[in-house]
């Protein structure tokens, strides 16, 4: 192969790479595009057109209905009440599980005691169990505590089964903070709480962001706990969305389904687009390393 031939074939290679990457990107974007255009069409247009056609006379009818009057089973108040339910579940559950994870991680990384490593191992294994194996007894416990079918009950469940991951995140982060720092502070007379407040907390901002985003996404997107432990009126948005799609009072309205799906996805999508860097960090940290 002479020089020009080689350059030409390298060029073709580059073009091929770009073409494939862009084509795949379009494929990944297609479902979102289809959801958006479908949500803006009326049912007539959906039936006569196809998935990719742009809406001729875009309307927000489906969005309005999905938000405030679509039926999610026997009630027909749209997704709005369930959106607030999810928020009422997510905020305390994320705050508390993140805080507990932080002090747990602090102990596991810098205040190890006899047996703490075994405890951490046991906790780590707890990250991976299929939740099916705790569903029945947890339902019993919630009933005993009088928290069955309540928002508080769901908050509690999310805290309990979120701690393993939040602890893992903070422990792996704090392990990178030099122990000499802790020892020096101890010599100066600082204790457990003071060292945490004055040294670790100020250094923790990035890992707090990663953990909060991770927990927010996990809990907002949860369906299993939501469907098992909520009752009518306390369901999170994922459960309501599933009910909405499967309730067909007078004909299927695909535009409403799509608007509802986007509403349910919006909070986590926004977080992803504005703080994607941290989301990816959590994803790879949570998934790969122990």
């Amino acid at each position: 192969m002479d020089r020009t031939q080689r350059i030409v074939s390298a060029r073709i290679g580059r073009v091929f790479i770009y073409a494939l990457l862009i084509f795949t990107a379009l494929l990944y974007l297609a479902p979102l595009y289809v959801m958006i255009v479908t949500s803006l069409k009326d049912i007539e247009e959906i039936r006569s057109g196809n998935l990719l056609l742009f809406p001729l006379k875009p309307s927000l009818y489906a969005w309005q209905k999905a938000w405030s009057s679509a039926c999610t089973g026997s009630e027909c108040d749209g997704l709005a009440p369930f959106f607030w339910n999810s928020l009422r579940i997510v905020v305390p559950a994320v705050a508390i599980s993140t805080f507990i994870g932080s002090i747990n991680g602090y102990v596991f990384s810098k205040w190890q005691f006899k047996g703490s490593n075994y405890l951490f191992g046991a906790l780590l294994l707890g990250c991976f169990i299929p939740f099916q194996v705790i569903l029945l007894p947890m339902a019993k416990l919630l009933a005993v505590l009088g928290l069955a079918n309540t928002v508080t009950g769901l908050v509690l469940v999310h805290i309990i089964y979120g701690i393993a991951f939040t602890t893992l995140f903070f422990r792996n982060y704090y392990i990178g903070i030099p122990t000499e720092l802790v020892n020096a502070a101890k010599l100066d007379g600082a204790g457990f709480i003071k060292i945490y407040k004055l040294i670790f907390l100020p250094l923790s901002k990035p890992i707090f962001v990663v953990t909060i985003i991770w927990q927010f996404t996990q809990i907002w997107n949860d369906f299993l706990f939501g469907v098992v432990y909520s009752g009518s009126g306390t369901q999170p948005i994922t459960v309501a969305l599933n009910n909405l799609v499967n309730t067909s009072v007078g004909g299927k309205e695909y535009n409403v389904d799509m608007a509802a799906a986007i509403i349910a996805a919006l909070p986590t999508l926004l977080v992803y687009f504005f703080a994607g860097k941290y989301f990816i960090k959590g994803l790879t940290a949570g998934a790969v390393k122990g």
Binding site: T24, A25, N104, G126, Q132, L136, V227, N242, V271
Partner: protein, 290 residues
């Protein structure tokens, strides 16, 4: 006095987590295990009948379908996600302009709930109005795509949606892996005149074997826990043809008053996950310790 408190504090901090771990993780697993040896139906009751529920489980055609589906799902979901993820990662690693934007696009489905994914794909794959209509309008009049209502093929619609959601994640961990490969190795191979693709198949990918290993374990873990996507995309149907073990467990434990059977199926899922996770964690921890 003060130092005694200092000694105690770390343990005190971990006490709630330890309690949760003992009761709500390992205690509950024990409770479910016990339940699986009883003939509990609506309510837990403690008449022990040995392994009868497990025998019943593996005689149950619905459970066997769920296991077969899990097998097919694992195979195709993992294979396609890995192929796509690796190819995208390698192509993105060729000093691509706007790599960041492309990465963001490949990964955004990961931020969305499986219920949203299921709702979107249920519409896209709609027999009659979805992809089928689109392809017909392009000119292929007799094109048919009705996997959603085909009991042989419904499980593969779940593969499609799951690949869309998770392959970007595989891309992300492989890209991180590729960035960690020592460049001098690649340069040396280039000087030897090896063609570009061979550098990858002979040099780079073998170095990334641990990343393959991690990715497979994580995808397997996602697959065994699959519940939401099935629930929202096919509802396990037509009939129970696209059920998976997690859906079987939910249906029998919570809708059909077959608590003992549900508990037995949860235990089988747990052992499935442990068979994957324990060797993985063991090898990860051993690697780190020496």
């Amino acid at each position: 006095m003060k130092s005694a408190l200092q000694q105690l504090l770390p343990k005190l901090v971990l006490a709630p987590t330890t309690l949760i771990l003992v009761v709500c993780v390992y205690g509950f697993i024990g409770w479910t295990a016990l339940l699986s040896f009883t003939k509990s139906r609506m309510m837990p009751q403690w008449d022990f009948i040995g392994l009868d529920q497990y025998i019943k489980l593996f005689d149950n055609p619905r459970w066997m379908v769920a296991l077969e589906n899990l097998g097919a799902f694992c195979f195709f979901f993992i294979l396609i996600s890995l192929l796509l993820g690796v190819v995208l990662a390698i192509f993105l690693d060729q000093k691509i302009r706007s790599e960041g934007a492309l990465r963001t696009i490949y990964l955004y489905p990961m931020a969305v709930s499986f219920i949203v994914t299921g709702t979107a794909w249920k519409w896209i794959l709609n027999p009659g109005l979805g992809i089928e209509k689109l392809i017909r309008e392009i000119g292929f009049q007799s094109f048919e795509f009705r996997w959603l209502i085909d009991s042989e093929m419904a499980i593969y619609t779940i593969v499609i949606a799951a690949v869309w959601q998770s392959s970007g994640f595989v891309m992300a961990i492989f890209l991180a892996g590729l960035r960690g490969v020592d460049e001098s190795l690649i340069n040396a191979a280039e000087i030897d005149g090896a063609p570009h693709y061979k550098i990858y198949t002979r040099v780079v990918l073998p170095i990334l074997r641990p990343v393959f290993f991690s990715a497979i374990v994580i995808l397997l873990h996602i697959a065994i826990k699959s519940f939401d996507l099935v629930q929202s995309l096919t509802g396990g149907g037509p009939g129970y043809s696209s059920d998976m073990p997690a859906n079987f467990m939910y249906t029998h434990a919570f809708n059909r008053a077959q608590m003992g059977l549900g508990a037995a199926s949860a235990m089988v899922m747990l052992f499935g996950i442990l068979a994957v996770i324990v060797p993985y964690l063991y090898s990860e921890l051993r690697e780190k310790n020496g």
